[in-house]
């Protein structure tokens, strides 16, 4: 690690990761309490695989479904925030390397970001 910018970037990344995990854990917990209060007396059915309900399988679907009436979707929002935390970290690094005029690492970071966006946004 060289110089001043790298160290600033390290601190910023550290704060970002910590905040992301805390917020997503809080949302998952909130959704979990809601979920157990409504579905607490139902039987769990994870022995056979049916797949999560269709609307909880995409970002847009989860956002549309989330609300006080759909606790599973609230949990899913928390989990998606968690998945987005490392993506935000990569985006942050990209800005950091850009500000430091480090062209090689701007290119390398962009490649990682493109792969992540492809994974999360493209239909599979």
């Amino acid at each position: 690690m060289t110089g001043w910018t790298d160290q600033r970037l390290e601190v910023a990344i550290s704060v970002l990761l910590g905040t992301g995990v805390t917020i997503s854990a809080a949302v998952v917990l909130l959704g979990g309490v809601c979920y157990l209060s409504k579905h607490g007396h139902e039987q769990p059915a994870y022995q056979d695989f049916h797949g999560t309900s269709e609307q909880l399988r995409s970002f847009t679907g989860v956002i549309h479904a989330a609300g006080p009436s759909n606790c599973s979707a609230i949990i899913q929002v928390g989990l998606l925030l968690l998945v987005l935390t490392p993506v935000a970290r990569v985006l942050f690094s990209l800005v950091g390397f850009g500000l430091a005029h480090d062209r090689t690492y701007v290119v390398l970071t962009s490649i990682v970001l493109a792969i992540l966006i492809y994974s999360l946004a493209a239909p599979h």
């Binding site: 390290e10 994870y46 999560t52 968690l82 998945v83 390398l108 994974s119």
Partner: protein, 279 residues
């Protein structure tokens, strides 16, 4: 069993897995999936989805501390993440096309390796004797890290070999929904001759991004089930935070042996179930 009983049980199992995973350095994800499938009969795909998100939580949580302390090498991590994310996408696609019985057998084999890796202490740091890898110089990999004897500098070798191994580590991560930290550490510590402490913390830094690359595929295939992933993620996170805090002063050697034994037993169970085609 109702959800009101099932959820705390899963939380407890995940917390133990997360705590032991942090204490032994194996990571919680590699233990939570066999625990859910072997002990509770959960379908391996749901278990993998829950494990994958918990892996993102623990690695991001721990990375927040390590990056600040100056152990992780962000440049090495960033570069190698190209390999791990490509591998993770490949692995996740493979996972959706591989019969679960075969996944179970592969998982068992990876577990046996993890148990073996976790039950021995790590070898001494190697230092690169040969001339610098020009690629490492060009990518500004050489760095320094804090030790008891002050700031220690290190040089990095065999970048291409490390990159190739990282693709493998990413594939395994996407295929099984694990962090595959052990293989990432091997690539950096053994192949690239990066100091062990820098290797483990940089590996941990990369695990979240690697797992996020498979998460899109897992999500769209319906592997991430909120009712199950909720207690797993919260449990593993709580357990690993507790484990990391207990790390200093714990009888790690005894723990490694016990943990290695338990993981070994679960590995055998997963291989046998897979071979019988029960999962």
């Amino acid at each position: 069993m109702t959800n009101l009983e099932f959820t705390p049980l899963v939380f407890g199992i995940s917390a133990v897995a997360g705590c032991l995973g942090a204490l032994t350095g194996l990571g919680g994800g590699v233990v939570v999936t066999p625990a859910l499938t072997v002990l509770l009969g959960v379908d391996i795909r749901y278990a993998m989805g829950a494990s994958l998100v918990s892996v993102i939580a623990t690695s991001s949580g721990a990375a927040a501390a390590y990056v600040r302390e100056g152990y992780s090498n962000i440049r090495i991590g960033m570069f190698l993440e190209i390999a791990t994310t490509l591998g993770a996408l490949t692995g996740a696609f493979l996972a959706t096309r591989t019969p679960t019985s075969i996944l179970s057998v592969i998982f068992g084999l990876v577990l046996i390796h993890a148990a073996w890796q976790g039950s021995r202490s790590h070898p001494a740091d190697r230092t690169t004797k040969q001339r610098d890898d020009p690629l490492a110089l060009r990518l500004k990999f050489n760095g320094s890290y804090p030790t008891d004897a002050g700031t220690q500098k290190y040089r990095v070798g065999h970048v291409k070999t490390g990159f190739g191994l990282m693709f493998g580590a990413g594939t395994l991560s996407g295929l099984l929904g694990i962090g595959s930290g052990a293989m990432k550490v091997i690539a950096m510590d053994q192949a690239m001759h990066i100091p062990f402490k820098v290797s483990t913390t940089t590996s941990n830094f990369m695990i979240g991004v690697t797992a996020a690359a498979s998460a899109g595929v897992y999500l769209s295939k319906g592997y991430i089930e909120p009712g199950l992933a909720m207690p797993v993620m919260l449990g593993v996170l709580a357990g690993s935070l507790l484990g990391a805090r207990q790390l200093i002063g714990a009888k790690v050697r005894v723990l490694r042996w016990i943990f290695g034994g338990v993981v070994g037993l679960m590995a055998v169970e997963m291989i046998l179930t897979g071979l019988k085609g029960k999962i």
